[in-house]
Subunit: 402 residues, 2 copies
DNA sequence: CGGTTTAGGTCAACCCATGAAACAAACCCA
DNA sequence: TGGGTTTGTTTCATGGGTTGACCTAAACCG
């Protein structure tokens, strides 16, 4: 017999552990503060005493996790507060993304702001995985070099991939033509001189994480739907990314919409992807040279092309059906349309809402929100870079003891 | 900006807090042990020292959470160990369930064993919620009285209800004919003399919890599908019940299977319920008097009635489609067929497996399990009783400070 | 310009949980 | 019966956090 929550500390806590627990508590308080916060405010906020706060703050300052931002004069009598806020120097995260229209790299500092963002348009359709990853490795090198000049140290790099990943192995990424590619090992080989640990994760998961951070406390549970050559989803419940048993959650593109519908390359029939991915919306119309699927669809929709508008309507309906399943199963009240869908949201949201209101059992007595994502196509790179930041944020002690 | 996991301690940890953390650690170790465990074994297992263990054990003994089970002579030299195991006296949980065929009450002790199980066949179709809950209150009274004689103290009662619940309010339970019934308040009123706090929760969620406990460490992520007059699901991921934003997760019965299919009372079309619930499988055939829908279906299937077998086939297909959505979205690898489905599993599993293998993207490289649940129709009552136990197990300190 | 007010640091004394080492208890075996 | 062995307990030292007092720094106010 087992307790239903095995995710508790398995290690005993000694006095020194107590110190690190309180250190993390203080650090979280600084993170959560909307503006620089003083030591005294921290003391009242956390319940710890000022001497303890002072000691912890000293430790955080020494570790480059926070900085003193100078005095704040708020007009009141008395000595002004010394503001403390998250440091914009020190540890940083590197994100890498393989998009439908090119490669992207991005560095984010501890405060969550993007300090470097590079994009290289490229068609990797004719290249193999090693070539693509070598190019990404080059971009990673310049990103690290550029941000090192600003006193940033990249601690982890995360690669976003459109498809299920497990332990660095990309099981299947049809958009890239990859099957069982060990992207982790390849990228690790190409970046050996940089000495940065590499992680590989699903693109939609990472984008969801990016949106979570960007939402600034207002969102804590949502489904991020990523539209592109395929369709993926990142599910965040109570501020926590749901990864599933093996990290393969969010395969929304293969949710069955019409059981006897169009055949899908995956072997099934009626998958959402066959109705709502960009190729499906484009039907058989070819994409003009020097354009991208994203641009082609928005261009035709803006021009009022009836076939495209009809395709967008079927896509919206299919998305609505699939999302109503997600909501009935998980009870989540917010849907973010990301990737290419963020550009197409004005043609999709109404249709999706109609389906949700009809099909979600609880929609009758609790409203649902459907809206475009904030970060647009950069969500995944930014989210990838944020994973490193997230780890430090949750376990600052690990960084201090590096 | 926020850390992605807000579920961390918001309170500072002082020395006493440290003690309770280690107390919980030790308690979990005793829970996880397959047999009575000695103080020294606890010391080596947890990493704490023997003196600390002794003090903590003393505290647990005083609080009636564990008991000494006598000396174990294993033939080796040295002083014999004093076995420690979870107490079968002290705190207990009370579960109440409104089933399609009657009312059930159950008391479970800290070890997770059922100490009292009562069932009252009843047709509440013609009665109102107050009458049903008054009867349940009577059953609760006798259950508490009976187990008090065995030194058990019921700390919380949990009512299982087939439908979405929020804060004691039953939003909609078509199987009972309830809509917006404040079951929590009604039951609280009827049990005022018992002075036991009341919780109300979804039946499928509770049954999933029951199965989780009954599985004895072998299961940690699964979907429990509860078949009956409606269809619900309880989702357990990594030993944790997924409740969703408002606790309305698992509405599997209203997942869309055929978008343009049969109309459902909920207002949508093609819901799973309209193909796989017991009424759907029975089609228009009336249930004989003095029988139940469960018995009618199994009887006809056993007899080889072609219409029933065909209906079971459509039900299995529909279940497979809906479950493939769940798995594509959540990446869970085990499905437990519960409620009436546990009795019907021999007619359902093959069909369900076929659909899953076709429609789940990752099924190609990772196997899925579909099998009947262990506890049968009592899963929900037992699970309901276990919620109280679960709380004590996760936060034994709260019980000690009662 | 000096008094007041607030932020922050520093120092003692104390509390309390854990760790280390010594000690008592209860078994085996010869 | 006595030595060896393992278990559980007692005693003392350690160390972190708290409380409280006292002090300095830096603003406002009359």
């Amino acid at each position: 017999m087992r307790p239903s929550s095995p995710r508790q500390a398995a290690e005993p806590v000694r006095q020194e552990g107590l110190r690190s627990i309180n250190l993390e508590l203080v650090f979280r308080h600084i993170l959560a503060a909307p503006a620089p916060i003083s030591r005294t405010e921290l003391a009242t906020g956390t319940g710890l005493t000022r001497p303890t706060i002072s000691r912890i703050v000293e430790e955080l300052l020494a570790g480059n996790l926070i900085t003193e931002t100078g005095l704040t004069h708020d007009g009141r009598a008395g000595r002004p507060r010394v503001g403390l806020s998250i440091s914009d120097k020190g540890p940083a995260g590197l994100g890498l993304d393989i998009r439908s229209d090119g490669l992207a790299a991005c560095v984010v500092d501890l405060t969550g702001t993007v300090r470097h963002l590079a994009f290289a348009p490229s068609t990797y359709a004719d290249q193999g995985a090693p070539a693509v990853l070598a190019e990404l490795a080059r971009m990673a090198g310049t990103a690290i070099e550029a941000t090192a000049a600003e006193d940033l140290t990249v601690v982890t790099a995360t690669l976003a991939v459109p498809g299920p990943v497990d332990a660095g192995m990309v099981r299947s990424a049809p958009a890239l033509g990859w099957r069982n590619v060990d992207a982790g090992a390849l990228l690790r080989g190409a970046t050996r001189h940089l000495a940065v640990p590499i992680t590989v994760d699903n693109e939609a998961n990472l984008a969801a994480l990016g949106e979570l951070y960007a939402s600034d406390n207002t969102l804590s549970s949502f489904v991020y739907v990523s539209g592109g050559l395929g369709i993926g989803a990142g599910i965040v419940l109570d501020g926590q990314l749901l990864r599933g048993v093996r990290g393969w959650s969010g395969e929304l593109g293969h949710v069955t919409v019409y059981p006897d519908g169009k055949p899908c390359p995956c072997g099934s029939r009626g998958c959402l992807q066959t109705y709502a991915s960009l190729p499906a919306i484009l039907s058989d119309e070819p994409v003009p040279p020097h354009s991208t699927p994203d641009a082609a669809v928005t261009g035709r929709a803006d021009a009022g092309d009836p076939a495209t508008l009809a395709a967008l309507d079927t896509a919206g309906t299919a998305l609505g059906i699939a999302l109503s399943d997600v909501i009935n199963i998980l009870d989540i009240d917010t849907v973010l349309l990301g990737g290419a869908f963020s550009l197409l949201s004005s043609w999709l949201t109404a249709t999706i809402r109609t389906e949700l209101n009809q099909r979600v059992l609880t929609a009758a007595w609790a409203p649902l929100t459907v809206r475009p994502a904030q970060l647009g196509p950069d969500a995944a790179v930014i989210g990838a870079a944020l994973t490193a930041i997230d780890q430090i944020r949750q376990h600052p002690t690990a960084w201090l003891l590096r």
